[in-house]
């Protein structure tokens, strides 16, 4: 399939991009790596009159860590993120999830910010950002703001980004001492859209479990996150705990039903993936520095 005819603009700076967005508003789409937008254009699921190619905009493929927060520029490529040693050690959850994002041939173009802005409910990068309670940095000619990831995703392919705004960076809380992480996914084939995926962070302080966060993708129309910080028993190796949390989660969600899986099937997958990631994250936290 071929896209409908569109006008094409290729800015080189953020300021030029914001001017174009102000001028064209919701008639324009931003093209970054194109690994989600490209298929949607080709299948004519979107028919924009203007495509703004931000692939050559300077200063958006950055990486930096300050005071416990890692900032990744919107245009950082997924494959570059996987190869970045500082990122891998600061953001273990993201580095566990990235191998599930498409294939090497798509990760070589796909960007972190593009996946966030696209907001596919089954996508791994939005799941990680929401699970870690990170933030999305946005910029428009009106100014800058940042939105918590758990408020950014509003529904299927829908975000809090305004038509004149662009995602410029993602802000990730760096992994802390005693924190462990796990990521699991079920798809029809590796690299395909997740039918369900689970991300988990567990925190152990002074030998006691003090926090578990479980995020799910592919289950509802946006990432869903559960925080647990009170446990009936403190030992991190309580064998009943992962199953109990997973059961609670699976009863609380309202799973989607589509061609890939029924709601009942998704609920079962969510329960199993949540339990597995809780077990693995606690185990990881037990050996964490």
């Amino acid at each position: 399939m071929k896209p409908v005819a569109f006008d094409y603009a290729r800015p080189e700076t953020q300021e030029e991009t914001l001017e174009l967005l102000t001028e064209y508003g919701s008639d324009a789409v931003l093209l970054a790596g194109g690994m989600s937008l490209g298929p949607m254009l080709n299948l004519r699921l979107v028919k924009p009159s203007m495509v703004v190619d931000i692939g050559r905009v300077s200063g958006l493929a950055t990486f930096g860590a300050v005071a416990g927060t890692v900032a990744t520029g919107a245009l950082m490529r997924q494959s570059d993120a996987m190869d970045n040693r500082d990122l891998v050690s600061a953001l273990p959850l993201l580095s566990l999830a990235l191998p599930w994002v498409g294939h090497v041939q798509t990760r070589n173009r796909g960007t972190l910010g593009g996946s966030i802005a696209h907001a596919d409910p089954s996508a791994e990068i939005p799941l990680c950002l929401a699970t870690l309670n990170g933030r999305v940095a946005l910029r428009s000619r009106r100014g800058r703001r940042s939105v918590g990831a758990r408020d950014f995703f509003l529904g299927m392919l829908t975000t809090a980004r305004g038509p004149d705004e662009m995602v410029v960076a993602l802000e990730w809380p760096e992994a802390g001492p005693g924190e462990g992480f796990a990521f699991e996914e079920i798809a029809q084939r590796h690299g395909d859209f997740a039918i369900a995926a689970s991300a988990c962070r567990a925190r152990i302080e002074d030998g006691a479990l003090t926090g578990i966060t479980v995020g799910l993708a592919g289950v509802e129309d946006r990432p869903v996150v559960f925080e647990f910080d009170e446990f009936s028993s403190d030992p991190p190796d309580d064998p009943d705990l992962p199953g109990e949390l997973a059961e609670f989660i699976s009863q609380d969600i309202e799973p989607l039903s589509d061609h890939a899986a029924s709601a009942a099937h998704r609920r079962m997958l969510a329960r199993n993936l949540a339990r597995r990631t809780v077990i693995a994250a606690i185990r990881d936290a037990q050996v964490a520095p």
């Binding site: 005819a5 290729r10 590796h190």
Partner: protein, 167 residues
Amino acid sequence: MSVLHRKGGERHRVELTVNGKARVGHAEPRMLLSDFLRHELGCYGVHVGCEHGVCGACTIIRDGSAQRSCTQYAVQADGAEIRTVEGLSNGQGLTALQAAFKRHHALQCGFCTAGILMSASAFLVSHDNPTEAEIREMLSGHLCRCTDYHGMVQAILEVSKSGLEDE
């Protein structure tokens, strides 16, 4: 700094380096890179399967990395360095990788093969001594409906062990 504008419905000049040669063609903004390589530049080794990034048949090497050519547009790639399957061999016979594919029956109909050879070529540059699992992970970005991938895995393993890949 300035914004490049390209009007929809009109053809614009696009310059690429393809298999080491400077090439020029014309493309509407909506023209896929895969179609541009085939129909403007005659690189019919770029196969077109699904046209939405799933099957991997159109995989090329752009600026050193294996990428889909159906989910990018020719105007986006202006100035890029592209390698297609036509550029693998120097015309004097098969490369070590191509010969290993033949020896291990790593293809049947051959439709997916052009893209897989490009992924495997890029992969071998960055992986001196790959494991079977790494090879299968790389191949997961390609659909082959004839073979079971086993011959491809064996061929790539053999080339990596022999150090014959002429990259």
